[in-house]
């Protein structure tokens, strides 16, 4: 056997350091709370309410991204137009903007001295301190992840499949529903998971727009501030556990079960 180059050992040791860096804190946090404490926490109505709020606002953000983002993702994947690069950069903006800035930006259009805010208040829509506000923020930060994932998915489908479908008599709509959608829905699912995972983790922007009603990250922060590490850990464990299980279930439900004839 040839002697390994020093470079090989450098790559291996860097790898080990990174693995430890990611896993140690997570494992420590997940194992720190005792079972009885976990049990007690999950019985807490406030905890349950905030985790549920986190999940369904993130889910709504993903749903909104699905409805509005899918056509845009398709457009970006299929056509070239002037300013496409610009549109793509704009879509990526929420990823790079600091989170509290997102919160402040959203509040500034929802205020009474801005025309949109006036319209909202006349319609009785409140952004500040409301579920609507939370969903707005989560959609803002999650949407780019959905659009990018789905755009990649659409780009992976040969436009020729759609062209053949058209030439065989299918309208644009039939082509989308019979060819494009069945081939792209898996990437849509990935997009939904990415988008809602990002949305669930949002804290900085939400805390500015809506401290109450309290989503789970805000509650974790509040418990940490008020009672310390020990009391915030169990909530965090439950949030991580529930989210991971949901994503896992979603994945399993949608794995192909069809057996292909070899």
């Amino acid at each position: 056997m040839t002697k390994r180059e020093p470079f090989f050992w450098i790559t291996i040791s860097c790898g080990i350091v990174i693995m430890a860096f990611i896993l140690l804190p997570l494992i420590e946090m997940m194992t720190a709370p005792s079972l009885s404490m976990l049990k007690e926490t999950i019985k807490d109505k406030d905890v349950l309410r905030s985790i549920w709020l986190s999940i369904y606002t993130a889910g709504l953000a993903a749903l909104i991204s699905f409805v509005f983002g899918t056509p845009l993702a398709y457009l970006l994947a299929r056509s070239d137009f002037r300013g496409k690069r610009l549109v793509e950069s704009i879509i990526d903006l929420p990823i790079v903007i600091p989170h509290p800035v997102v919160g402040i930006a959203i509040l500034s259009i929802a205020g009474r001295n801005y025309w949109l805010g006036q319209i909202f208040s006349e319609l009785g829509i409140r952004i500040m301190g409301s579920v609507t506000g939370i969903v707005t923020v989560l959609t803002f930060v999650g949407m780019p992840f959905y659009i990018n994932a789905v755009k990649d998915g659409f780009e992976g489908i040969s436009p020729r499949l759609e062209k053949v479908s058209r030439s065989l008599g299918a309208s644009m709509f039939s082509t989308f529903s019979r060819i494009t959608f069945p081939l792209a829905w898996r990437s849509m699912l990935v997009g939904i998971i990415m988008c809602s995972a990002r949305a669930i983790s949002e804290f900085g922007a939400v805390v500015i727009v809506a401290y109450h009603p309290m989503i789970a990250p805000v509650m974790i922060y509040e418990r940490f501030e008020a009672y310390g590490l020990k009391y915030s850990q169990p909530v965090a464990v439950w949030l991580v556990f529930i989210c991971l299980s949901l994503f896992l279930i979603l994945r399993i439900l949608t794995t192909p079960s069809r057996e292909k004839v070899a």
């Binding site: 020729r160 062209k163 479908s165 058209r166 030439s167 065989l168 644009m172 081939l183 292909k260």
Partner: protein, 345 residues
Amino acid sequence: MIKTENLNVSLQGFHLYDINLSIKEGEFFVLMGPTGAGKTVLLEAMAGLVPVKSGRIIIGGKDVAKLPPEKRGISIVYQDYALFPHLTVMENIKYGLHFQRVNKKEAEKRTSRLLDELEILHLEKRFPENLSGGELQRVALARALMVNPGVLLLDEPLSALDARFREDVRSGLKKLHRSSGATFLMVTHDFADALSLADQAAVMSDGKIEQTGSMEDIFQRPCSKFVADFVGMKNLFLARFSGSKATIDDLEIELGRTPVNAHGYIAIRPEDIVLSKESFTSSMRNSFRGTVSGVFDRGFYYEIQVRVGETTFKSLITKKSLSELGVREGVEAYISFKSAAIHNF
């Protein structure tokens, strides 16, 4: 019948300029040209799959240039076949029936005829990812013909196949053309495909039609430098004409006729130039002494370049004559050709 009138297309990177083609009902028309000539774009423009800038596309007497692709009755088979990967072979083949009003009996009849003719009955339940190249192609053909298209467009159907199968596929296509009664328009860059299949053909380059006509015409009487070169007329010279003579550099060549348009090029196929060691008397009016300046192995043949004065002629000979004539670089040789072998344009 399908006809294009002054068709112009402008896509990024691809342009078609004033395409005028006329393909008769039930014809097998072959469109040739090098890669990047715009052949696929032309097919897609006819099928309505890329936007047309101006011009008309007439199918069965009706201008369809403004119709969406699903209303044109044109099927297309791509080079990569583009089968729907999430559907079985049978679902692929019957895909077009969802959008047509075909009664069940007729649909069944068509299906079984195509499955039978293309020998793909046993593949019915398989998915495209488990098919070989030849099988994919036959499924794609069946899918395209299932909707009884007036026109079938074939985008280089033979280029992705193993050379051994090409002959089979060619005869298969010929049979299919006859049994379907559809007008076939096939794109290829392969000359042999065109020779064996085409009723009529066209040569394209850089988004323009260079020449249309029978294969015989294109092969023997190219009308431009590009086509002459494309069909392998390797002896292509700019000439001056006077009476029945043409002059290239300092060589005087007897044409045996007075050309109609006496300016431009003369072209001679390399296989029409006879190479010999000695000058010999024959019916060939043109015979020149020169020096062999190059010998190139071209597989079944050798290409011999002979320099006569300032002009280099290319001739094709077999391996056998190569050794019999003792041809090698630097030796003296005679070239002769009939005046009938000289084409001018």
